[in-house]
Amino acid sequence: MQERRDTSFPQINQDLLRGVIKTPIWFWLVLGALGMVVLGGAGAMGYLFYVGLGLTGLNWPVMWGAFITTFVFWVGISHAGVMLSAILRLTHAEWRRPATRAAEVLTVFSLATAALFPIIHVGRPWRALYWIFPYDFARGIWPNIRSPLIWDPAAIFTYLTGSSLFVYIALLPDLAAARDHTTGWRHTLYSVISLGFRGTARQWRLQVMGGILLSALILPVFVSVHSIVSWDFGMTMAVSGWHVTIFAPYFVIGAVHSGVAAVVTLLALMRWVFGWQDYIRREHFDALGRLMLVVSTAWLYFFFMEFLFALYSGESAEIALREMQVFTPPWSYFFITFLLTAYFIPVPLWLFRGVRRSVPLMFLTSLSVNIGMWLERFLIFVPGLARKQVFTFDWYTYRPSAVEITIIAASFAVVALGVLLFSKFFPLVPIYDVKEGEVFSTRIEVGRRKVPAVVREE
């Protein structure tokens, strides 16, 4: 069942291409503001490269900090897109249609942003190529495939390639539509990148099949990416707080939790900004809310398991680590904040249908989840290092520096800027998909009202 007005195809085109065709003043303002933040971040990064990692708050032994946290955070966000698209597409979930594009685009930009962080974080970024490209093979020296840091870029770049293709294939019909609605250089541009898509039956079939195939192929990659990211930590035997077998599923489910929340945030923004009330509807938020209820609770289960295993071991170093997380300020404050914002405030609210169907409330709760999920990673990584092993003499703490915070803030602007610019050139809601939904829908009478209902051909 879909709760919306009837819309004609030309109306859909006009609505959904609005962002592409018109450039209102706020666009420039937001673009400028985000651009400033990104420039600030780029400046901070340049300064960091020039002076070195001394500018961070990292120390001995807390050698990984906010950059790695943010890396994992963005990888996590990137999990929503493909998960939503692929799973919902494969399961023919009808309500997915307006949400997929935004989710996929978020995947691509957050993943690309995430990939920046390991490079920013290494001591000699100018030699980071060495890491993934075996340019020293003349000496018989290849990258060390035993290192999770080799698996990591492999997984991320596979995922990035896959999800970019995914976006592109789903974009083709809309690019064609854009081509047909534009003139001048834009027309030329869309002509080229729409790869001659004319909407013939064969083209449609290929496009749909490509989408389904990619969906099926990318799901294992999606599961593997965050598993592998978790092994950056899980394989670290020396950090007892990290050396946990449960990390892979725990990280994947956490990624989905934060990712879906990020999609909700984005959808709410799109609905407000582009006036897409007819396309991004309360039912979508309702459905996403229900999904998040399940995902977040599964995530909480893993979180408690991880904690339980640690305490169950009864090892004094493990217990000291948990003590730091739960009882030592400021970590204890972070801990409480993270539990409240990532679970105990939003999830009970989502139990109420009225909340799930309130766009402002969903917007706020989804933001809250992501604040909590950033803190969650911070609380996993940093205390683990700060309480590494039993050498209490070495135990320390960590606080990110201004440079780190600036760069991290800029990463949010980078993602936002990416999505914004994307919306300038491509429709953020898949037009053809919406139309397809329209075709499949019929109207049924409910009382005195005629509402659209959906039938699917099998």
Partner: protein
């Protein structure tokens, strides 16, 4: 075998050095180049290292060194394995000597003051100019019959340099004062009185079974720390039963940390404890009757009635049963050895304390015995002895002389590597400023040199000749031989060479007293009396001299100290209690930093960056305060505390110390310099400025552990620069990182 390129690459590539070198082929220009090809002296082979034996002068202990020199630059100082004092080992300060040699703020050539005195404005002059300026001053004094108004202030000088200074002043006139803030005069006086020896004896802790230290921090800075460190290692795990160390001290020192038992004691009551131990030993019949008779003046244990453990307990704060137990252990686990120093000596009753402590060795018959107190022989070369010291009383006398001009004024002050302006209370600094002309031969712009009118900078020890007569020696005749290991880095001259040049310039009696053109010549001639015996054997003197330099010294293990001649002392019948200055709630104990010493090491960044072993603080001055009592006062680590004594206030950072007694605070010496180079200047505080002059000390030495202070919070807070982390490090339950073993071996 001809090595082909392929073979070479194979060999090199399989080694790490090879791997590093290969990759280094692609090292960009901006990465550091270690060595630049400079003009190479002809006798040096590029890439080959030479080792020169010499002597460490970072403290007066006189350890032997070997210095690695490559391409004319000194690269590493190691201990000389042949040298009987340190047997191949060095302490942190000895290791850091290279930074004095290659210090960026060394005085690189002669200078003459142009601005106000103390303004730091100097102009560079030539040596000829500088020497003639000084010579004309000296001649002027001579001409006016005021030669006796010359004053020379030096660091402790020994060997031929001491002889040279003595002869110079005897011929020319004038007074010599040795500046050493940690002056061991209380120690040497008490040793003299107890053992009848001018030289410090050899404490044979290597072979002792029970070692009892009253504040003598022999593992840190006391007398000859490396020698004692080597001995201590053997004492612990040599091929015999493991020795037991008990430290009695008002502060938990690094030495106390290594002890099997630390007994905190009320400051200044060490002598009472020692005599109480004597009481127990005598009353329980643990000493031989003859000794008991001798040491009580025939009166028997009754003479020591006022030191019954119960009575001593109230004075010292140590439970009576612990005193009894300690006395029994000390008397029964022979050979046992009692030593004292540090805060036990730096009291108004320091001489009483140390005399009582050292007397214990007679009680257990350790004097002259293996594992006990062994006499050192008099110097191998007559007149060429160890350094002598002046006590604070001499400085008080000087201050009065400078202030009043009576009996004679001081018209010319020559100073060399001594820094009284830093280390002595401020009235000395202002008194010294009255001297019309000050000439400094120091290598660094320290606080005293900054007041000079003429600076004729000396070499640092790695650039100059010398010899050393260690005090304490190893129990037999020993002279360390110091040779320059590199050419001078700057336009400096060796102080003894300058004195010889002055003597020649002065002519007359002074020239006749010092008929050598260089100090090396003097040493050469001095060494002749060593030829034909001892560790270096050679047919002709030339070869002997080379052998002497190669070995870094000369020693004769057969020429040992004589038998004990002095009889066991009669123990005092009444306690002498300490008196303190100041009314504060806390007793202040100063201690020389293990790395900076009394402040002499503060200019070297290696030493500044060496964490204190217990607090792990570096670069700063801290106040050690009992963690619990400080927290009760609402204090936190890093709080800037004002420490107030009757004569001064200094500010330092709080360190929450779990092991210091609640009523005691402790501060390290060494920081708080106004000058002395970029690494020392303007950093930390000098706690010596809290110490007032002694009032009733027996021999007028500085009682730097006899001040009570008030502690005030200033409200500021500075992060401590320390190695330890965020929590108080302890071993977690169930873990074994510093486990204990109960092994009797």
């Amino acid at each position: 075998m001809a090595l082909t390129r392929r073979q070479f690459l194979k060999v090199a590539a399989t080694s790490t050095v090879g791997a590093v070198a290969f990759v280094a082929c692609s090292t960009p220009q901006d990465e550091f180049l270690i060595q630049s090809p400079v003009k190479m002296p002809e006798d040096l082979v590029a890439g080959a290292d030479n080792w020169y034996a010499s002597v460490c002068r970072q403290c007066p202990a006189g350890c032997g060194t070997i210095v690695r020199v490559m391409e004319g630059r000194a690269k590493k100082i190691e201990g000389n394995p042949l040298h009987p004092i340190n047997r191949g080992k060095l302490c942190a300060r000895g290791q850091a000597g290279l930074q004095a040699l290659y210090h960026p703020d060394r005085l690189r050539g002669p200078r003459r003051r142009v601005g106000e005195r103390g303004s730091g404005q100097f102009e560079e002059i030539s040596w000829d100019e500088g020497l003639s300026l000084l010579l004309s001053r000296l001649k002027e004094l001579q001409g006016k019959g005021q030669a006796d108004t010359l004053l020379m202030v030096t660091d402790p000088v020994d060997g031929h340099l001491a002889l040279l200074v003595k002869r110079f002043l005897r011929a020319f006139g004038g007074q010599h004062l040795v500046y050493e803030p940690m002056e061991p005069t209380t120690l040497t006086t008490s040793l003299q009185r107890t053992f009848g020896q001018d030289l410090i004896p050899h404490f044979d802790l290597e072979n002792t079974q029970f070692l009892l230290s009253f504040g003598a921090d022999f593992l840190e800075t006391w007398l000859s720390p490396v020698a004692y460190g080597v001995g201590y290692g053997q004492f612990r795990q040599g091929n015999r039963r493991r020795g037991t160390l008990v430290v009695v001290s008002p502060r938990f020192s690094t030495t106390a940390a290594s002890a099997d038992e630390w007994i905190p004691i009320k400051p200044g009551t060490e002598g009472v404890l020692a005599l109480s131990l004597a009481y127990v030993i005598l009353s329980q019949g643990l000493a031989s009757p003859q000794v008991a008779q001798a040491m009580t003046g025939g009166a028997g244990v009754g003479a020591l009635e006022s030191f019954r453990p119960e009575a001593a307990s109230t004075i010292t704060g140590i439970p009576a049963r612990d005193i009894t137990r300690l006395a029994r252990d000390f008397a029964q686990q022979r050979p046992s050895l009692a030593i004292g120093g540090g805060p036990a000596a730096a009291q108004s009753n320091g001489l009483f304390n140390l005399s009582a402590v050292f007397a214990l060795n007679f009680l257990v018959e350790s004097v002259g015995q293996r594992g006990g107190v062994l006499n050192n022989p008099s110097p191998a070369i007559p007149d060429v002895g160890p350094a002598s010291y002046n006590s604070l009383a001499d400085w008080v006398g000087l201050e009065e002389r400078l202030r009043t001009g009576q009996p004679r004024p001081v018209n010319l002050l020559l100073t060399r590597n001594a820094n009284p302006v830093y280390g002595l209370p401020s009235q000395f600094a202002s008194a010294l400023s009255r001297v019309p002309y000050i000439v400094s031969f120091s290598s660094f712009m320290d606080e005293t040199t900054a007041k000079a009118d003429l600076i004729l900078p000396g070499h640092v020890y790695l650039e100059e000749w010398g010899n050393s007569v260690p005090n304490p020696g190893p129990g037999f005749e020993t002279i360390g031989w110091q040779q320059p290991v590199v050419n001078p880095v700057g336009d400096t001259r060796s102080f003894p060479d300058v004195l010889l040049a002055l003597a020649q310039g002065l002519g007359g009696e002074t020239e006749r007293a010092l008929p050598w053109s260089t100090f090396r010549d003097m040493l050469w001639e001095g060494a002749k009396s060593l030829h034909q015996r001892g560790s270096v054997r050679a047919a002709d003197f030339e070869s002997f001299w080379i052998g002497l330099l190669q070995r870094g010294g000369w020693w004769d293990t057969t020429a040992r100290g004589g038998q004990q001649t002095t009889k066991a002392p009669v123990l005092p019948r009444e306690p002498r209690l300490p008196s303190f200055s100041g009314e504060g709630d806390f007793h202040l104990i100063l201690f020389p930093s293990i790395s900076l010493g009394d402040g002499r090491g503060a200019h070297l960044p290696w030493l500044q960056g060496t964490p204190d072993p217990l607090t792990t603080v570096a670069w700063q001055t801290w106040v050690e305060m009992n963690a619990q009592s400080a927290q009760k006062m609402g204090l936190q680590e890093g709080d800037v505390l004002a420490v107030e004594s009757p004569v001064g206030v200094v500010e330092a950072l709080l360190y929450l110390h779990p092991a210091i007694p609640p009523g005691v605070v402790a501060m390290p010496m060494g920081q708080g310099h106004d000058a002395y180079g970029r690494y020392a200047q303007g950093r930390g505080a000098n706690p010596l400025s809290l110490i007032s002059l002694p009032k009733d000390s027996d021999n007028g030495s500085l009682a730097w552990a006899a001040t009570r202070v008030r502690i005030r919070k200033t409200g500021q807070r500075v992060k401590l620069a320390k190695l330890e982390g965020f929590v108080t490090p302890t071993q977690l339950p169930g873990t074994e990182i510093v486990p204990e073993a109960q092994v009797t071996r």
